[in-house]
């Protein structure tokens, strides 16, 4: 009886589409598993055709609420390199790493990359954090990839990881990274030029994910629709935001990613006349925002559209 049931299960495994119970050895490219589409794109740009890259989180998913999928365990089990956001944003990745039992990509292994190393962190808490603070990250605001120049640090960390995993391709990876940096600097000039007329202007966002971006482009955040990170907006908080927007001399733009609830944002826009624009916060978060550069093209163009409508 016992063996019959296991024969049934093993048969189901063998018949599952696209499967073979035992894998045949292959000579594939370096397998990189990244926590987010942004890290995946940078890893692809640095790794070039020597890497195959997969992102655990999909575009337009809230990174705080990722449910790790068992099939991602298989990918990590075969991975040569894992790239994580760090700063406790992707704690869900630990369950996958633990289940995969792949020592080379576990914490401290040669194939483990924490992309946040070296990032100048913003909003590091200075006092005790409790549930009253909302869902605060202990190590600071983790949305650092939204400062495009942090791409320099992210790509440096990925480069070091790729060089550890494949030292023979080090020069190739260096050249790719240099090309990425050249493209980044050129694009940065373009973005700064587009946003320079709007320096000092204020935006309202849903979730506190944009401090790195506003710092880089000299914008300001007037307020967040979430009264505290992860806490849904209340009527009184929305009302006070409306009053603050009305008190502003210059028009304010309401902007954030498509996957946040937009009811409060639309209400505020209707009551204040502020422009509401949807901008992606990760690669793939909008049609055409399919790499790190076009992501910021979409963000910058969206904000310019919002600022210039009044």
């Amino acid at each position: 009886m016992k063996s019959r049931y296991f024969h049934v299960m093993l048969s189901l495994v063998a018949l599952a589409p696209g499967s073979c119970v035992l894998a045949s050895p292959g000579f594939a490219a370096i397998s990189v598993v990244a926590a987010t589409p942004d890290l995946a794109d940078i890893a692809k740009q640095v790794g070039g055709d020597r890497v195959s890259v997969y992102s655990v989180a999909k575009p337009n998913q809230d990174l705080h609420m990722i449910e790790p999928r068992p099939s991602d365990v298989s990918r990590i089990a075969r991975a040569n390199l894992v790239v994580r956001v760090g700063m406790d944003l992707d704690l869900w990745l630990d369950a996958l790493l633990n289940a995969a039992g792949n020592g080379r990509v576990n914490r401290g292994g040669r194939g483990y990359v924490d992309a946040s190393i070296g990032i100048h962190r913003l909003e590091v808490p200075r006092e005790q954090i409790t549930g009253a603070s909302g869902d605060i990250h202990v190590y600071g605001n983790p949305h650092y990839w939204l400062d495009p120049l942090n791409g320099e640090i992210i790509s440096a960390n990925i480069l070091e990881g790729l060089k550890r995993v494949s030292p023979a391709d080090a020069n190739y990876f260096e050249r790719n990274r240099n090309a990425f940096l050249a493209g980044l600097r050129s694009a940065m000039r373009r973005w700064q030029e587009k946003l320079s007329p709007y320096q000092g202007r204020k935006i309202v966002i849903y979730h506190d994910a944009w401090p790195y971006f506003v710092r880089r482009f000299n914008l300001k955040v007037l307020g967040c629709i979430e009264p505290k990170p992860g806490i849904p907006p209340t009527a009184s908080h929305v009302a006070s935001l409306i009053e603050r927007i009305k008190a502003e001399k210059q028009p304010v733009v309401i902007a954030d990613a498509a996957f946040y609830p937009d009811k409060a944002a639309k209400t505020i826009a209707a009551r204040t006349g502020a422009e509401f624009v949807v901008i992606p916060s990760s690669v793939g978060g909008a049609k055409g925002a399919d790499n790190f550069f076009s992501l910021f093209d979409h963000i910058v163009d969206g904000l310019v559209r919002g600022f210039s409508k009044r």
Partner: protein
């Protein structure tokens, strides 16, 4: 060096502004008012404020001693954060400590239910988690259940050796065993206010736990198929309590008297980029405790489970799950034999709320001719990542009460970085 460059830049900006204003004025003897376009002035002011903030942050970064643990060979780990909690640097040497508390209120039309029409603290779970050695993780969960009159006990306390061989993990200690899809999920992480009836009656009110050794092996499959084999050998917690006719309210659970063994094969495949189909088969066998008039032989539990998940944008997710459990004892073909199943669906549209529907059907090992069934509507309001409220309204039938109604109100709140394995 960066600090010096930033200060120099500020000075240059200030001096440059004066020089520019001098050109604009055209006459050094005029009084000291400067006329600059407002937009330009605001932009320079914003830039100056940013620079001042950066200087402050750099000053603090330069003055703080580095407190990171030495990195192991390979990747550098993230530098230790500034000590933010009281206690200074010693705080970073502590493991993850958290407390999760669950309270429930129950209204029920079944007058035999001792827990009806009252609200009680069901469980407070203290979790202490951390690494004790490279790739050796320790987890301990101390549970206190005032509602059951039980003293604090180690609900789980185990070491996990990660990646002993590629894909192989080993755990030692006391833990919820790998049987069925949700047995290893703690009750505060479940998507319903009480375990499905078949799991309560045939597996265990709080799940099936044991002390022993378990191996978890990720089979080397091709493509993106996930297949994990779990094998364990355990010493059980002893026979479960049973309620008997006519006031039969629950089954005894697995009812293993002493040692038992478990096996589970869990497979999962990504049907599309945004959906996943899981199938699992479970088996547990061991000496059975006495049950009714029987002295107990060898009890065998078999389980099959199927789960489908589809992920949408943001936080939206649809989950469909079904699980069936069969119980047999070898001493007597009919004694202790029971079966049951549940079907569950959960729709989460935003991270703040979800809606669930649960259908249960289950026999009782101590009374194989009897069964119970229930249909429950479940509403969950998630206030934050650490605090939610759940309402579960049930209509069901059980021996002695063909039609009962029950409302459960569950509060769950937590403090601290409580994490779980893959669920």
């Amino acid at each position: 060096m960066r600090l010096i460059l930033l200060i120099a830049f500020c000075l240059i900006v200030c001096i440059g502004r004066q020089g520019l204003c001098a050109e604009v004025k055209g006459n050094p003897s005029d009084d000291a008012t400067i006329t600059v376009p407002l937009a330009e002035f605001e932009a320079m002011k914003a830039k100056l404020e940013d620079l001042q903030r950066e200087i402050e942050e750099l000053k603090k970064a330069v003055s703080l001693p580095s407190a990171g643990a030495p990195a192991e060979e390979g990747a550098p780990t993230a530098p230790a954060p500034e000590p933010v909690a009281q206690g200074g640097g010693r705080a970073i040497a502590l493991p993850d400590i958290s407390l999760i508390v669950q309270a429930k209120g129950k209204l029920s039309s079944d007058r035999r239910d001792d827990a009806r029409n009252r609200a009680r603290l069901c469980e407070a779970e203290l979790a202490i988690q951390g690494y004790v050695y490279p790739n050796v993780k320790a987890d301990a969960f101390i549970a206190m259940s005032p509602a059951e009159g039980a003293a604090a006990q180690a609900e789980e306390a185990y070491l996990t050796y990660l990646g002993l061989r590629k894909g192989l993990n080993l755990s030692v200690g006391k833990r919820l065993v790998a049987f069925g899809r949700t047995n290893q999920t703690h009750c505060h992480s479940l998507l319903y206010a009480r375990r499905p009836l078949v799991l309560r009656n045939l597996v265990g009110e709080e799940g099936l736990a044991g002390e022993g050794i378990a191996a978890s092996y990720l089979l080397p499959t091709k493509g993106n198929l996930f297949a994990q084999l779990d094998l364990g050998t355990w010493t059980g917690e002893g026979p479960g309590e049973t309620s008997d006719l006519p006031d039969i309210m629950s089954g005894p659970g697995a009812n293993f008297a002493d040692r038992f063994n478990t096996a589970r094969l869990w497979t999962s495949y990504p049907v599309t980029d945004n959906s996943e189909l899981e199938m699992g088969g479970s088996y547990a066998e061991g000496a059975a405790g006495p049950l009714g008039d029987t002295s107990g032989g060898r009890a065998r539990l078999t389980g099959l489970d199927l789960t489908y998940r589809r992920f949408g944008e943001g936080t939206s997710r649809l989950l469909l799950r079904g699980e069936g459990v069969w119980r047999r004892e070898s001493a007597d073909a009919t004694a202790g034999a029971a079966k049951g199943y549940y079907l569950f669906g959960n729709w989460r549209n935003t991270k703040y709320a979800s809606l669930g529907l649960l259908y249960d059907w289950s026999e009782f090992p101590q009374a194989p001719d009897l069964h119970e069934s229930a249909l429950s509507l479940i509403l969950t309001k998630q206030f934050s990542e650490q605090y939610y409220l759940r309402l579960q309204a049930t209509h069901g039938s059980r021996p002695g009460d063909d039609s009962y109604n029950e409302i459960l109100l569950q509060w769950v709140w937590g403090m601290g970085p409580h994490t779980h394995n893959l669920e």
